[in-house]
Subunit: 271 residues, 2 copies
C-alpha cells in the first residue's frame, strides 16, 4: 500500500451482500468520474442478525480485501457494519473511512421539523443504537424511535416490492412509528430503498431518508477536503467482487444497481 | 479418530443454522438414549440461496468439526447440504452418513396415493432436483412438482407462525402445487415444520411429510443394522455448538427444539 492515497485510485465500497449496490448507484450518480471497487460478502450474508463480535471479524476481512486493491478511501455501505464495527474498518486501513450512519443521521436532523425521527434497520443496527446516538450528536433534543424490520431484507432480495404481503408486513413494522408521530424516517439498511414505494404508502407524509444518497454527499465532501477527487473527465469504472456468486445473483443485483452489473468476480479466501 | 465407531459415542448432527433442531427433536423422541452433538453454522446461515460450490466448502468444514468430536454417525439435518453436498460429507468422514432427502423421499412415496408429490424447499434444494431424483428412485412413475419458498426461512426464524402475512405468502407459494393436484407435500427444509399449521391450512387435505421425522426413523435403522445403538438406558445428552451466538438465539432455538437449549458453546475456526 502506498502511504499517500492517489487521486486516480478507486474508492472501495463494501457490504454484507448486494444491498450496498444502492450506495454504488448513488455514488456513480454523484461522482461519475470516480473508479469504484465493490465487495459484497455474499457467502456470509446477512450480517444483520449476527453478533457484533462476528460482524467485526467479517468487517476486518472485508477491509483487508479492499486495502489489497489500493483504494484511496473506504465507504462502508452496510448499516450493520457502520453501527457496530466502523472502528475496526478504520483500524484496518490507512485511508479515510465513511460509514452510512453519520450521513443518514445528519440528513434526518436537517429534514425533521417536529424533531421526531424514526429509524428502521436490521436487528443489529437497531440494537446498537448507533443512529440514535449519532442523531443526538447533531441535535440532543431530537426524539428517536427505532424499529427492527428483519423481514425487509429477504422481501427486497426476493423482489416482492409491490406485493400485498410486503405491505401487510410494512404496516405491522411501521405502525408503532406512526403512533409516535414521526415526521422523518431513516431507511437504515441499504436494502430498504428497494421497498421505498411500499414504505412511502404506509407512512404517507413522512420524509424518507436514504442513507446511501446522504453518504454519497459526504463522500464527495471528504474527497474535496482531502484533495482526493479523481481529476479524470472520463466515466469511472466499477469493479464488482463477491465472496459467492449465488442463485439469481445477476437478477437481484440489477434490481439494486438499477442496470446490469457487467463482470462480477469471485473474491477468494473468505472461508 | 478411532477406526471403529463405538456405541457410546455421540451421533453428530449439523445444519446451516438452527432449523436442524427440528431434526434433533425427532431424534431425541425416537432415540432417547443416544448422545448427540449438534453444530449449527449460524455465522454463515443461510445456505439455501448460496452456490453449490460454497455450500460444499461449508459442508466439509462442518463435517470436520463433528469428526473432531468422535461421532459414530453423521446426520445432515440440512436439506440444502443433503441436496448438493452429501458426497462431500461422506468423503470427509469414515462413519455412516444419513441425509434428509432419501428418508423424506421414501416417506412421500409411501404416503402418496395419486403419485403426485409436491416438494417445497430453499432455492438450492429445489434447483438441485435432489428430491425429484430420490423419489423417482423409489417410484419412477411418481410425478414430482418442486417449489422454492425462500421467504419461509426468515418467517420461521422471526416466529411469524400464525401471521396473516405468512398465510398470504404461503398461499402464493403453494397455489401452483394445489393446481397440480398433489396429495402429498414434502417439507423439504428443516425450518418448515415450524410453519406446519399455516401450510396445512393452505393445502388442506394434503399429507405433509416432515423429513426430520422420516430421518430419525432411518437413523434408527442404520444404528440397528450396524450394531451402533447406545446400550445405555440413561437419557442421552445433547451438546450444542454454533459458529455464532446471534441476537435472540435462545428464543429462536427453543421454538425449533420445543424446549430450552441449555448450554450452547461457540465453535471456533469457522471464519
Amino acid at each position: 500500500m502506498t502511504s499517500k492515497p492517489q487521486q486516480a485510485q478507486p474508492i472501495g465500497v463494501f457490504d454484507s451482500g448486494i444491498g450496498g449496490l444502492t450506495v454504488v448507484r448513488a455514488l456513480v450518480e454523484r461522482l461519475p468520474h470516480e473508479n469504484l471497487v465493490y465487495f459484497g460478502d455474499t457467502a456470509r450474508v446477512p450480517y444483520g442478525p449476527k453478533s457484533p463480535q462476528v460482524v467485526r471479524e467479517y468487517a476486518a476481512q472485508d477491509t483487508d480485501f479492499l486495502v489489497s486493491h489500493q483504494v484511496k478511501m473506504i465507504v462502508v455501505a452496510c448499516n450493520t457494519v457502520s453501527s457496530v464495527a466502523l472502528e475496526v474498518v478504520q483500524k484496518h486501513s490507512k485511508v479515510p473511512v465513511v460509514g452510512v450512519i453519520v450521513p443518514g443521521a445528519r440528513a434526518a436532523v436537517s429534514a425533521t421539523k417536529k424533531k421526531r425521527i424514526g429509524v428502521i434497520g436490521t436487528v443489529g443496527t437497531i440494537a446498537s443504537n448507533a443512529y440514535a446516538n449519532a442523531i443526538r450528536q447533531f441535535d440532543a433534543s431530537a426524539e428517536v424511535i427505532g424499529q427492527a424490520c428483519p423481514l425487509f431484507v429477504p422481501l427486497a432480495e426476493e423482489g416482492w416490492i409491490d406485493h400485498k404481503a410486503t405491505e401487510m408486513i410494512a404496516k405491522e413494522y411501521l405502525f408503532p412509528l406512526k403512533l409516535q408521530k414521526i415526521d422523518t424516517l431513516v431507511l437504515g439498511c441499504t436494502h430498504y430503498p428497494i421497498l421505498e414505494n411500499v414504505i412511502r404508502t404506509v407512512v404517507d407524509g413522512v420524509t424518507l431518508i436514504d442513507s446511501g444518497k446522504a453518504t454519497a454527499s459526504d463522500v464527495e465532501q471528504v474527497l474535496e477536503e482531502q484533495h482526493l477527487r479523481n481529476p479524470s473527465r472520463l466515466k469511472g469504472n466499477v469493479q464488482f467482487f463477491v465472496s459467492d456468486i449465488p442463485y439469481r445473483f445477476s437478477e437481484i443485483g440489477e434490481r439494486f444497481l438499477g442496470h446490469t452489473l457487467g463482470k462480477v468476480r469471485r473474491a477468494e479466501g473468505f472461508f
